[in-house]
């Protein structure tokens, strides 16, 4: 099981306080850019009812799901406040604005 860093694009491709999607055979990954220019990647599927988190409003280091307002931490993937649930986080590397995500082929196969 090896970690491959796969390039996904430049940080400027993502709007500030916004997100873009990366498609994988295992489903979509949402890549977020916060107001402070930090980048996070999490599974694009709310633990509540599967809502697309990439479409939510980004505030601080969190995103609010567009379907039912679960607030998910971008750092831990966990639901904040009174709600419970967790999504997978994916490591992101940012070298001079060039973004890559850690892509574990073995983990992907296992997940399928």
């Amino acid at each position: 099981m090896t970690t491959n860093w796969i390039a996904i694009g430049h940080i400027d491709d993502i709007p500030l306080r916004g997100a873009r999607c990366v498609k994988t055979p295992d489903g979509k990954i949402a890549v977020f850019r916060t107001a402070e220019n930090e980048v996070f990647a999490i599974e694009d599927q709310c633990p509540h009812k599967g809502g697309p988190l990439s479409q939510g409003i980004v505030h601080g280091r969190a995103v609010t799901c567009p379907l039912h307002n679960f607030v998910i931490s971008l750092e831990s993937g966990r639901a904040l406040g009174a709600d419970e649930g967790e999504v997978r986080t994916i490591p992101v590397r940012n070298i001079d604005g060039q973004l890559s995500i850690a892509f574990e082929a073995a983990a992907l196969v296992a997940a399928e």
Binding site: I6, A7, I8, G9, D13, I14, P15, L16, R17, G18, R20, C21, V22, K23, T24, P25, D26, K28, V31, A35, E36, K49, G50, G51, P52, Q55, G56, I57, V58, H59, G60, T64, P66, L67, N69, V71, I101, F103, A105, L108
Partner: protein
């Protein structure tokens, strides 16, 4: 949504007792039952005690709703409105309604309440003779009151006097007939009854005591009443308010034990182990009840038993009575008949109109009547309940609590001195300790919060002052009665303050607002950012740069997100009018993009559901070629203007309603508003466009255009109110636009027109829009200015490449034919 494994609970009746029972049940045993309610009244659960303020005009029906439609949805309760149960089949364990719906039950609760007693005199069935029991009766009285003619109320008890006062306030000439020598003789002694009669008469209401009705006169409808002594009193409305009796017929037919009411044990269990009864229809230990406090106690006991806790038992207790006629203060409790073994202490102050009487037996209070000054009611109630020996304070007892021990005459001190178990809210049986401990435990700072958590002052509201005093005592300076609810956890400021400060300080960006108003978070949250973005768009249409990242996804991508992450697309159809070419273009788009569902909306247009986000720009491009623009079906903004066909086609149409609707829609499309805005124009009062449940509606009449506003047909249902009548289309447009702009500038984000209007007052809105011509013109012009920047079709912008990143994935990885 059915809850597998849950037992089926069916409730017959949807009044205050079963409503309260369900609140307790959902708290104690959520999910234990699938609940179905059959309500003979075609509406939700409301506060029946408050019908009198609705009759007098001091409250509206919406004010007294206990559970709105949303509550039933949230709690998964099936409510059949307007279904009267006609049969209980105990063998099959089913009930059947008059509309033929049959439902089976594991547990059945009968809460059929009571029926008004009709005195059996000739003429009792004439039109114009009504009872006073539910909202339909109030509506009937209000309708009759429009005539400003004569009304007779039979019955000088609590209900009759409240009805009489309400009808008098509505402009009717009212006479009260009471069979006993003094009013409210069951609650008041003759002296207090006399004072009450004087106060009632001062309101212009005639009172005739010892009045026996012989017959009701009239041929096609009621014309008057003849008394036993031959007196004839003319009237066009007769209200019978002579008492109620338990409505137990259904239970009797089903073979349950019925005496005066449905016989139940202290656990609310009837003679059938799976059937309970609560409320006015139930008889416990030989007693039936009509005041809310014991009914709520029944509800609490029944809920516990349904939840599996069989310990709680119903215990009888006296309930204080209060009359809800504004300006008449009256308190009555317990037994106050004269007797050899009883003593009484009486205080009279004729000038101030005060009468107080305490009845004592064995040095303990057994009854109290207070008239004119009732603030010591809670204290007397407490002394009576505890059986306190009053011999030590006998000489000063009647002067009240503040006089004891030389305490200062300060109402706060009086409340502070009450013991923890003193009852504050009689309707709900809530004592002082429960209120203060809940305030502390839950960190409550608002009256609404206290009402939500404890129910204190949430029914008749007469103890609101006491509850507020308790809040001041418990919270000290932290309690500010005018306290505002903050916008969200990022700020202490409420919406109104934020809106005011944005204008006053000239704040023109979200970071500026957050900096100047000392936001507690760095970049807000999903609650405050969309609100701030709207306020800034509204207040600075030419200067503010819309912050798309602060918009909800629907407004960012100009389509409606669906549960599976696909989108729905609704093109605008002006006034609901379309053409063969438009329909053909829609059909082609559906085929080309394999759109799975096409649906006609309630707003007279067509919804294309299940469009992939990546396809949106291409779908819009094809629709755009046929002349379609965005229908903004996703926007907190102008949605649709529904129309009927009007004078062009309809034989009843009085004006060109279709033309006016299209004109309004073309004028107002693209505008952002605090919440969605739906309009309609009907060509005649038959109202085929359903304009009277819209945010703004127009009913065309021969003499012009009647403008309506503040309707609702969603979680809440509310008919519109009339704003005013104007003569021309131009005026109609100007008034509607001005009203919209006033709403845009003043409402809180996500607040629909009807909620905003209720908050600031319909009369104020009428004054500004109908009467103040300069103000109306200024609103109109500000709207027109703002439209210069708002009327850009978002779809064609995006077809031309705007926000391209929104519609494309950033990358695709891990596939064999990976992009990189």
């Amino acid at each position: 949504m059915t809850n597998l494994g849950a037992q089926k609970l069916v409730i017959i009746g949807n009044g205050m007792a079963p409503g309260r029972m369900l609140e307790h049940l959902f708290e104690q045993a959520p999910g234990l039952y699938d609940v179905t309610i059959f309500n003979a009244e075609p509406r939700v659960n409301y506060d029946r005690i408050m019908l009198s303020p609705v009759l007098s005009g001091e409250k509206t029906f919406e004010d007294i709703i206990i559970h709105g439609d949303g509550w039933y949805i949230e709690n998964n309760v099936t409510l059949y409105k307007g279904h009267r149960i006609v049969e209980i089949n105990r063998q099959a364990r089913t009930v059947t309604s008059d509309h033929g719906v049959t439902e089976s039950y594991d547990k059945l609760v009968i809460a059929t309440g009571s029926v008004p007693f009709i005195i059996p005199v000739p003429g009792k069935d004439l039109p114009g003779v009504i009872t006073y029991r539910d909202l339909d009766d109030v509506d009937a009285m209000l309708l009759a009151a429009q005539s400003r003619e004569k009304a007779i109320v039979i019955g000088g008890g609590l209900l009759g006097l409240e009805a009489a006062a309400g009808l008098a306030l509505r402009g009717m000439d009212v006479t009260v007939l009471h069979v006993m020598p003094t009013l409210m003789e069951r609650q008041l002694d003759p002296a207090a009854g006399y004072l009450l009669q004087k106060a009632v008469e001062e309101r212009g209401i005639k009172v005739i005591t010892k009045a026996n009705t012989k017959r009701i006169i009239g041929t096609d409808r009621v014309e008057g009443i003849e008394l036993d002594n031959g007196t004839i009193i003319p009237a066009t409305l007769v209200v019978m308010a002579v008492g109620i009796r338990p409505n137990a017929g259904l239970a009797k037919d089903a073979g349950l034990a019925v005496n005066r009411g449905i016989v139940v044990d202290a656990g609310m269990q009837s003679s059938d182990g799976d059937i309970l009864a609560v409320g006015e229809c139930a008889e416990v230990d030989g007693m039936v009840y009509g005041l809310v406090a014991p009914l709520y106690e029944m509800a609490r006991v029944a809920a516990a038993h349904l939840a599996g806790d069989t310990k709680p038992a119903f215990v009888h207790s006296d309930t204080p009575t209060k009359l809800k006629v504004t300006g008449i203060n009256l308190f009555s409790l317990g037994d106050f008949a004269d007797g050899d073994d009883r003593e009484e202490i009486v205080l009279r102050d004729a000038t101030a109109g005060i009468y107080k009487r305490v009845v004592i037996k064995d040095n303990r209070i057994i009854g109290t009547v207070l008239y004119g000054e009732t603030s010591d009611g809670a204290w007397f109630n407490d002394l009576k309940k505890k059986g306190t020996d009053i011999s030590a304070m006998r000489d000063t007892l009647i002067f009240g609590q503040s006089f004891q021990g030389g305490a200062p005459l300060d109402p706060m001190a009086a409340v502070a001195a009450l013991p923890d178990d003193a009852e504050i809210c009689g309707c709900n049986g809530i004592c002082k300790g429960k209120i203060t401990s809940t305030i502390t435990a839950k960190g409550l700072t608002t009256l609404d919060g206290v009402r939500a958590h404890t129910k204190a002052s949430a029914s008749c509201g007469s103890c609101t002052g006491l509850v507020e005093q308790l809040m001041s005592l418990t919270l000290g300076d932290a309690y500010n009665p005018a306290a505002v609810t903050p916008m969200c956890t990022c700020t202490e400021l409420g919406h109104d303050d934020v809106r005011r400060l944005i204008k006053a300080k000239g704040l023109k960006s979200i970071p500026a607002v957050m900096q100047e108003l000392e936001w507690k978070t760095s970049c807000g949250c999903a609650k405050c950012r969309p609100a701030l973005n709207y306020y800034l768009v509204c207040d600075w249409p030419d200067e503010y740069a819309d912050d798309y990242q602060s918009r909800f996804i629907n407004e960012r991508v100009h389509a409606n997100i669906q549960k599976d992450g696909t989108y729905s697309v609704v093109p605008r159809m002006w006034g609901g009018v379309t053409s063969a070419a438009e329909l053909r273009a829609i059909a082609d788009v559906v085929d080309k993009f394999e759109i799975p569902m096409v649906k006609v909306t309630g707003g007279q247009r067509i919804d294309l559901l299940g469009v992939e986000k990546e396809d949106l720009p291409a779908v819009w491009a094809d629709l755009g070629k046929a002349g379609f623009v965005s229908g903004q079906a996703y926007a907190k903004g102008l949605r649709t203007v529904k129309t009927c066909v009007g004078s062009d086609w309809c034989r009843f149409g009085t004006q060109d309603s279709t033309g006016l609707g299209i004109r309004i829609e073309k004028f107002m499309w693209g505008s952002w508003t605090p919440a969605k805005l739906k309009l309609a124009v009907s060509g005649c009062p038959r109202n085929c466009a359903e304009a009277t449940c819209k945010d703004i509606g127009v009913i065309c009449v021969d003499s012009g255009f009647e403008i309506h506003f503040a309707g609702a047909a969603g979680l809440d249902i509310k008919g519109t109110d009339v704003l005013g009548l104007v003569k021309t289309e131009d005026e109609a447009l100007e008034h509607i636009v001005a009203l919209t702009q006033m709403y845009r500038e003043q409402a809180r984000y996500l607040e629909r027109i009807y909620k905003w209007a209720k908050r600031i007052g319909h009369d104020e809105i009428r004054r500004q829009i109908m009467e103040d011509h300069d103000k109306r013109r200024a609103y109109y012009e500000r709207f027109v200015f703002s439209q210069k920047f708002a009327q850009v079709d978002p779809w064609s912008e995006r077809v031309s490449g705007k926000d391209k990143h929104e519609f494309k994935p950033m990358a695709a990885v891990g596939f064999h034919q990976a992009a990189e």
